[in-house]
Symmetry: C2
Subunit: 627 residues, 2 copies
Amino acid sequence: MTDSDIHFQPLGRKTRPRPGATLLDLANDAGVSIESICSSLGRCGKCKVIVRSGSSHLNIVNDSEKQAIRDIDLIAGMRLACQAKILTEGNIVIEVPEESRRGTQRLQAAGRERITKLKPAFMKIVLDMPPATLMDIRADDDRLLEELSKKVRTAARFSSGVHKSIPRAIRDGSWRVSITIFRGKEIVRLEPGDTTDELYGVAVDIGTTKVVAYLVNLQDGTVMATEMMPNPQLAFGEDVMSRITFATREKDGNAKLQKSILDGVNKLLRRLSDRSGVNRDAILEVFVVGNTAMHHMFFGIPADHLATAPYAPAVRTAMSVNSAQQGIDIYPFGKVSSLPNIAGFVGADAVAGLISSGLYRDRHMGMMIDIGTNTEIIAGNRERLISCSCASGPAFEGAHIESGMRASTGAIERVWIDPSDWNVKISTVDDTPPRGICGSGIVDAISEMFKAGIIDSSGRISSSRQNVRVRKNGEGMSEFVLAFADDAETDHDIAVTQHDVQEIQLAKAAIFTGISTMMRKLGIRCVDIGRVYAAGAFGTYVDASSAITIGMYPDVPVDRIRFIGNSAGAGARMALKSTSIRDLADRLSKKVEYVELAAEKDFQKEFAKAMFIPHRDMSVFPSVRKP
Amino acid sequence: MTDSDIHFQPLGRKTRPRPGATLLDLANDAGVSIESICSSLGRCGKCKVIVRSGSSHLNIVNDSEKQAIRDIDLIAGMRLACQAKILTEGNIVIEVPEESRRGTQRLQAAGRERITKLKPAFMKIVLDMPPATLMDIRADDDRLLEELSKKVRTAARFSSGVHKSIPRAIRDGSWRVSITIFRGKEIVRLEPGDTTDELYGVAVDIGTTKVVAYLVNLQDGTVMATEMMPNPQLAFGEDVMSRITFATREKDGNAKLQKSILDGVNKLLRRLSDRSGVNRDAILEVFVVGNTAMHHMFFGIPADHLATAPYAPAVRTAMSVNSAQQGIDIYPFGKVSSLPNIAGFVGADAVAGLISSGLYRDRHMGMMIDIGTNTEIIAGNRERLISCSCASGPAFEGAHIESGMRASTGAIERVWIDPSDWNVKISTVDDTPPRGICGSGIVDAISEMFKAGIIDSSGRISSSRQNVRVRKNGEGMSEFVLAFADDAETDHDIAVTQHDVQEIQLAKAAIFTGISTMMRKLGIRCVDIGRVYAAGAFGTYVDASSAITIGMYPDVPVDRIRFIGNSAGAGARMALKSTSIRDLADRLSKKVEYVELAAEKDFQKEFAKAMFIPHRDMSVFPSVRKP
C-alpha cells in the first residue's frame, strides 16, 4: 500500500484516491465491477460497500444512503459506493460484499436475424480516371460523374459539403478514387485510391434502460463487436413518462435528454472502434431503433405530446440525417438512420422486432410480444397486423422487487417448489450461491408458489400451513423464503414478498390485457394462435409454462412459443445490412394498425380480471389448474 | 470639444479616441467617409490625412506610410488613416483632405435584368389540418404530408433536421401551419399560422474586388435593398492568383479565405436586414455568383488547381447547400446556392452575365465582355457559344495608375483634347473639381491622346511638340497633365504617365487577344458582330468609341454596343427569382465551349500585335484613323 491509496477487499485491487470522485468511480478505475442499475443516483441500493478504514476521508452519509441502508449496517460502515465521495487523500480500505459485485451479466440473446441478402445502403466504387490535360479540361465533378456513369447506371449527385473533397481526393490518389454512394443517389464520400474493402455500419438498439450497439462489416454482414451500457437518460427518469416530464419541466430539458443519449452512443462507438480496430471515420452509418420516445429524444424531436392523449408521434416515417448534423462521431458526411415508428408507444424497435420475427409473412395468426418497461405487442398474420402497447413497468428487470437484480452471476433464474413440503430448489446464473432474483426467477417462483398453493388466485401468500419459509418480514409483510442466508452469498435470506407478488400481478395483467384485446380485435382465441414470438432478454430466459401459469402469455402449447431474443437489435442489424428490409419496414409501419388500449371501453374491467393468477376467468387458461 | 476627442476637419465631426483603433476606424465611427481601396493594408495610399495636433497620442509613422507619403508631407503631419493607431486618449485634430474623402461612389449600374416570370425555388403553402384525436391518431408527419397532398401535387420530404420543428409548429398555430417547400421536393420549414407573405432571398455577386448583395422580395420580385463592400479577401491578395498562392502557402489558407468571405457576406446580410427591416431568419436563400476561384473559396473547395495548367475547376455543376452548414446567417435550414461554372476562369458570374445579356438567344453572332481583373468573354449565338478568360488586371479599376481612383466624386470620367493646342476639357463624377482619374477617364484620355498625336501607335508620349502639359515627372518619366493643381481638389497636378499608358496597353491587349481569338474560332469578322454586350461598371461608363479607338472593343458601329451593367448581379437576381433560369443556366454551362487562350499557339504573337494602339494591323480597326 502506498502513502495514499484505496484498497478494495477481498479483490486486492488498489487505486489512488482522487478527491471529488465517488468510490464507484474509483472502483471502476481499479477494475472492480460494482453493481449499480440506477446510473449512480443512489436509488437502487445495489452498490453497497463497507468502509473498513479511512472513512474520515469521505463525505458524510447522505439521505439516499440512510434510506437504502439499515441503521445497523450504517453503523458497521456501510455506504453506497455511488454516493460516497473522496474529500481528502489518504489510505482507505473498502470491503466489497459479494452481492454488490457485478458478475458476468447474462447477456441478452443477440437476437435472431433472419437470413437477409446483403444489400447495404452504401456502395463503393473505385474509378481510374483519365487525368485532366489541356486537351481534356473537364471540371473534376463532370469528369467523376461521367467516368462513374460508364461503370454503373446512376444519377448520383454530390451530397452537400462533399464537393470540398473532390480536387484533393482525385489528385492524391493519382486519378484513382473510391466513391461511396448512398442509396444509389447521393455521393457521400471520395477517397484517394482503392478503399473498397472498408465498409462499416453500426446498429444501435436504444432501450429505455439499456443501449446496445453492434459494429457490422457491410462487406460480409458479420458482427465485429458488440457493446452495451445503461441508457444514460436514466439520470433523468427511470421510465419514458418521467423523462418526458423532465423534458417539459426542465429548462432545455429536450436538449439535455438528447445530449445525454448522443454522448452515450458516441461512447459506445469509441468502444466498438477500440475493440475492433475499425476507425470511426470508416463507419458510414449508425442505424438506430428504439421506442418512439427514445427515437424522438435521440433525434431531438420534442416528445411532450407522447405523454398526453391522443399520444400522436411527431414523426412516423423513417429518418436519415447527416451524421455531423446529428452529432454522431462517425464519418462526418455519413448517415444516422432509423426505422419508422408505428404509433406513440409502438416504435421503431417494434418494427424491428416484427421484421426479425417474420410474423408479417405468417399464414397463421400469431403475435410478437416484446416485454420491457413498455411491452409492445404486434398480432396478426400476413393479411392484417394490429399493435398495442402495455405499461408493464420494470418489475421483470428486477426493479421494485425486494431481492430483485439483473440476470447476472448469482441471480436466481429457475425455481422449483415441492408442493408437499414447500421445499425449494433453485438454479442461478453461473451456478454460484444466490445473490438475488432476476425476472425469469420471479416468474418461476410465483408460478411455483401458485401451483404449490403458497399463493392463491388473488396472489395472497397463504397463512394456512405452518412452514419455516412462510413468515412476516421486519415490516410485518408476508414473504416466502427462496434461499436462506446460510446458503446464499448474502447476509440475509432471499425471499419473495407479498409486495413482490403484487408487482408481478400488475405487470402481467398489463401485458395480458394487451394480448386479450389483440385477440378480441382479431376475433381469435388461443387455439388459433400458431406462433408466439417472445422477444427481449426477459422473453428469452423466462420459462414459457411458468409465464402461462401466471397468466402472462396466452395459453398455447409451449412449442408454439419461439424465443427471438433482442429482436429490436436483430431487426436493426437486418435493416443496416439491407435496403430491401428498410423498404419492407416502411410498408409494414404503414400497414400495422394501432390500438390505443386506454381508449378501449372495457380496458379497466379486462385489467382487473387479468390481475388474478392466471385470470379471473379460468376458461381463458384451460391448461392451468388451480392447486 | 470634450476632454478627450478626435475632431475631423473640415467636416466638424467628432468621436472619442479609442486606444487600439485606427484613425480610419474612428473616422467611420464619426460618419466621415475616408477612401481606402486596399482593405486598410496601407497599400493604396488613398486614406491620407493630416494630423494637426495630438500626434503624440498616435503610433509612429510606419514603413507603409513612408512609402506612400512624400517626405515633405510626412513632415507636415500626413499619415495614412488606416495605419495611424491611437495609443493613448487625448485631443487630436485631423484634417481630411478633399481627395481622401469618399464622395458619392458612382454605383455600378444595377444591371439589366431581362423580364423573368417569377418562379422562386421556394413555395409556401398554408394548411388547416384536422387536430389529432383518439379517433384520428395519425402521426404529425403523416398528417402534414397527407393534408399537403390534398392541396398540391408533391412528393416532398422533410429536409434533414426540420423534423424537430413539426410538433411545436402545428400545435402553436392551432393546427394551422405554413409549409415552405424547396424546388417542390424538400420541406425546409414549418411555421405556426399563416406566414405566406414572407418570402425573401438575397442575390450576391462576389467580385474579386467588390461584393454586392441584393435583398429580393420573392413574392413580387422587387429589390428591397442593395449593399456592397470591398471583398474582404483583398487582405490576402489583390487578385485571384495571389489569393490562391496564399491558400497554398499559408497554414489553413483555404479556411482563412473562406472565413473572410463568409464573414463579409454575413455582414452584408446584417446590413440588408437593418436597412429593410426584413428579419434575417425570413431569408430563405442566398444565391451567389462569382468567378470560379471566388465560387470555390466561398464554398470551401480548394482552388489550388485553378492556378496550374490545365486549370480544371473542381466543381462545375450548380450547388445548393444547407445554409447553416455553409455558415451563412439566414434561416438555418435555408439554402446557399450558386449558378454553375464553365471553366477554371469562366465562372458562375459569366453564366449570370450570359443569361442577363440574352446572347444565348440571338440569331446573329455577338459577344458579351465583362471587364474586370479577369475579363470574361462569351461569344457566339443561339447555335454555338464559346468562351475565354483574359488576365486584364486591375488597371481599369484605377489600380496601378498614378492618379487612379474609383469612379467616385471628383473622378475624371470624360476627357476631350483639342488636337490643335492639346488643351484639355474634362468632366468629373458629380461635376466637382477633379481628384483623380477613373477607368473610363483613362480610356478616354488615352484615346484622345492618340487622336491628338500626344502618343503614337506604340503608346510612347511624344516629345516632338513643346507643350506645358507634356513634361517629365520627378522620376524622369514622361507624363501628360490633364488637370493642374490649381484647378483640382489635390495639391498636385493630375497627369497620365508613360507608365499609365503602358498599363492600359497591357490590359486592353489582353482583352483584345481574347476577342480576336473568339472571332477566329467562330470564323467571323467585326462586320458579322450584331451585338456587343458590355458588362460591368467599367463597361457601363466607358465611352464606346474611345474603347474602340484604343483597340479594346471590336470595331463595330457604336450602336451595336449595349451596356448591361452589373450583369453578374442581374443574372444572380434572375436565377434567385426563377428556377427556369437555373435550369437554363445548367444547360448553358454545359453548352458553352471553353478556349484556353494560353494554349493557343499564336497567343504571344496576337498579344504583341494587340499592344499597339489600336492594333499593329490597322485593318482590324478600319474606323480608327492614325492622327
